[in-house]
Symmetry: C2
Subunit: 430 residues, 2 copies
């Protein structure tokens, strides 16, 4: 059996929903890549009793490794190290040389925080320089060190990896923790899994469910492949993980999916439509013309490093005046068909091509809601047009489900797929 | 003692980090509003054994209510109802009338999913119409019903509220579950907490930590106020929750915070800078001019319903050509100072004011990275200009920490605060 791991995310602000946890999912992905089996993630507040209970739960579930995130700060509610030390039976000891290293980091920060006294500074640093006896110290990326805390004796419980809450610090310190002897020892029984992620656009979850039920009947060894399906931003993701012996079962399952949904399968190797579009845009210049998405499509395209090589710019044209002024859309056209119409989407795309001197343009205009819907054009009605400078174009108008945020987000996905098909030269309607 | 609750989020895709959970935080906020004490959130995959273990953990921790999300779909890996039924000792029974109601929902969807056979459709619906004996059925918002499952006998364990995974469905069904007799009974011991959230901009977490240490020494009853602080998108949030008896302690703590950080305290009632800016923009028209943020600021402003009343539009000007073509920035100015410079930010704001006929404009140009940095203008260097049509302006140039995504996101926060101060008529540099 593969080594099992658990993740304990601490922080009242995470538990109470004030902030969205970015660390749990990130650590889970890293552990899976290492071939560990992630069994449980738990979230607790700043109450030591609850955190202890979760660590004991993890131990009872037989996990080999627990990763904790958060609770390493200088404030009184940051109790992770104290709780982990007690859990592992390793008393806290002040590490004088670590204290010096922390002070060397925080002293220069004092200029930025003039309200902070020297005494408070040292007090904070002393708290962060307390080390569970015998634990491996991971040098701070911010001001707080992390730790790898093995059990007192072999088989005496999980090894606990203590990581800070700020994602940037955690991500910098993680490889150091993974490279430690203690980590390697705790995870020596890990398995190498193979994995693959398929992505489909325009397929329902129940359609893939039916395909998997057929696979269950027809593919020998299907049960040895772990498959999860999920709808994400308007796409369907099929993620599979298997041990080497089940490779043939997965290959046959893949074939079945391809046979039944081939046309809608757009990525076989975990690629995102964003990756494909970026690749297809190489050597081209794109411009965006957005109304209801208000810049989200431009933001999505420019999210990638190096986007400046192909994104020339975009116009967010919320008002009719902006549509006319920036993109040269004829006011009479807006008057005749309405600002949300295939005709205006088409004119917006033309305007973006001309105004930005681009090779390709995408235009979106729709009713994101909650207000502004009519019987003919209800909330969720969105018109798209993707056009190349050579005149080739693809257009769609759709009724999208969900609230304002979902309609806006889903619209960017529809636009990405329209763009992918236009650039790929495939002009059929899906 | 107040009633305690736990949340069990199910789904391998959440546990493995493939998708970010939106339900746990949302449910936690709702439970807290109801005056329940959220003790634990746990995440498990689609393995029944792990989910059972988490439910037993919750029971052992003495929670009165457990909310589960996800795992109600038609696929074989959706096992929540089965596990909860076994946990509560209530066998599953087919509810024929519920089956009819589900079929009435899913039959019309068949047109959209032509690959789905009638037999598979009925099989899926039958699975979703299985009810733990004696449980309260919550009618589906999508296709899956939810349940409120009380313990077999009083004191025999927590009541389990079974909710679907899709956030829109959960949010629609939640109030129905809360209104049920079974929910009311399970949470009859809940406390009414008071709560308040302060937000500061330009204050470090260690500065507020010092203030809270002073409060600990000087404010009687300080220990009865639960306070959490967290950095979020470049702002510092101080969230407090207290039972009625501790109101005076919190009032005095607030005064202390105000005395020490008043200038930087911008919200006392949980308001976001986005709310304040939206309010300040009433009766005005804003235009955006964005380079490195690539539309994120426009997207943030138009995220709010009704934004079309004050957002006229924006220009995403990634290339120099777009800066000149769309916003009339003089190419010689770009040549002289570089595209990332206070001068170009200023010219971009002017261009946006003129081109969109706006009352106020914000311009952002910077080096988001990872490439494109120089010694003089490293990655994270960003220039901002907020300008009113009457000529009043505020400008900043800053070195922001973090990676590309953080620099871009943080830039929108800086811009929002600049805008707030400009519209508020406060022209001092923070």
């Amino acid at each position: 059996m593969s080594a099992r791991a658990g993740i304990v995310v601490t922080g009242t602000e995470v538990l109470t929903g004030v902030i969205r946890d970015a660390n749990g999912p990130w650590v889970a992905e890293r552990l899976l890549e290492l071939g560990l089996d992630v069994a449980h993630t738990t979230v607790c507040g700043d109450r030591p009793h609850d955190m202890e209970a979760q660590l004991r739960f993890m131990a009872r579930q037989g996990v080999d490794l627990v990763v904790t995130t958060g609770g390493l700060g200088p404030t009184a509610d940051d109790k992770t190290v104290e709780v982990v030390a007690a859990f592992a039976g390793r008393p806290l000891e002040l590490d004088e040389s670590l204290l010096e290293r922390i002070l060397a980091i925080v002293r220069p920060l004092r200029e930025r925080w003039p309200d902070l006294s020297e005494q408070e500074l040292v007090e904070s640093a002393r708290k962060q320089a307390l080390v569970p006896r015998g634990a491996r110290v991971i040098e701070p990326a911010g001001t707080a060190p992390g730790f790898v805390v093995p059990p007192l004796e072999e088989g005496g419980g999980p090894t606990v990896v203590v990581m800070p809450g700020p994602p940037r610090e955690l991500r910098q310190m993680w490889p150091v923790a993974v490279a430690s002897e203690e980590f390697a020892h705790a995870t020596r029984n890990r398995t190498r899994y193979e994995s693959q992620t398929l992505r489909l656009y325009g397929t329902a979850e129940s359609e893939i469910a039916e395909t998997l039920r057929i696979a269950e009947r027809e593919v020998p060894g299907f049960g040895d492949v772990e498959i999860t399906t999920c709808l994400r931003r308007g796409e369907l993701e099929v993620a599979a993980r298997w041990e080497p012996g089940a490779a043939e079962a997965w290959r046959r399952t893949c074939e079945l999916i391809e046979r039944r949904h081939g046309r809608r399968l757009f990525a076989r190797d975990g690629e995102r439509v964003d990756d494909q579009v970026a690749e297809l845009l190489r050597g081209r210049r794109i411009a965006l013309a957005e109304s209801c998405t208000g810049g989200l499509l431009a933001a999505r395209l420019t999210d990638r490093p190096g986007a400046s090589e192909y994104v020339t710019g975009g116009a967010v044209v919320y008002s009719d005046r902006a549509k006319t002024e920036l993109l040269g859309v004829d006011p009479a056209l807006i008057e005749r068909h309405g600002a949300v119409s295939p005709e205006v989407a088409d004119a917006m795309a033309d305007g973006a091509l001309a105004r930005f001197g681009a090779d390709v343009a995408v235009a979106i205009t729709g009713v994101a809601g909650p207000g502004g819907g009519t019987d003919a054009k209800p909330v969720g009605y969105v018109c798209f047009c993707a056009k190349r400078a050579d005149g080739a174009a693809l257009a769609r108008d759709l009724q999208l489900p969900g609230d304002r945020a979902e309609v806006r987000d889903r619209s960017t996905t529809v636009a990405m797929h329209l763009l992918r098909r236009l650039l790929d030269g495939d002009r059929a309607r899906p």
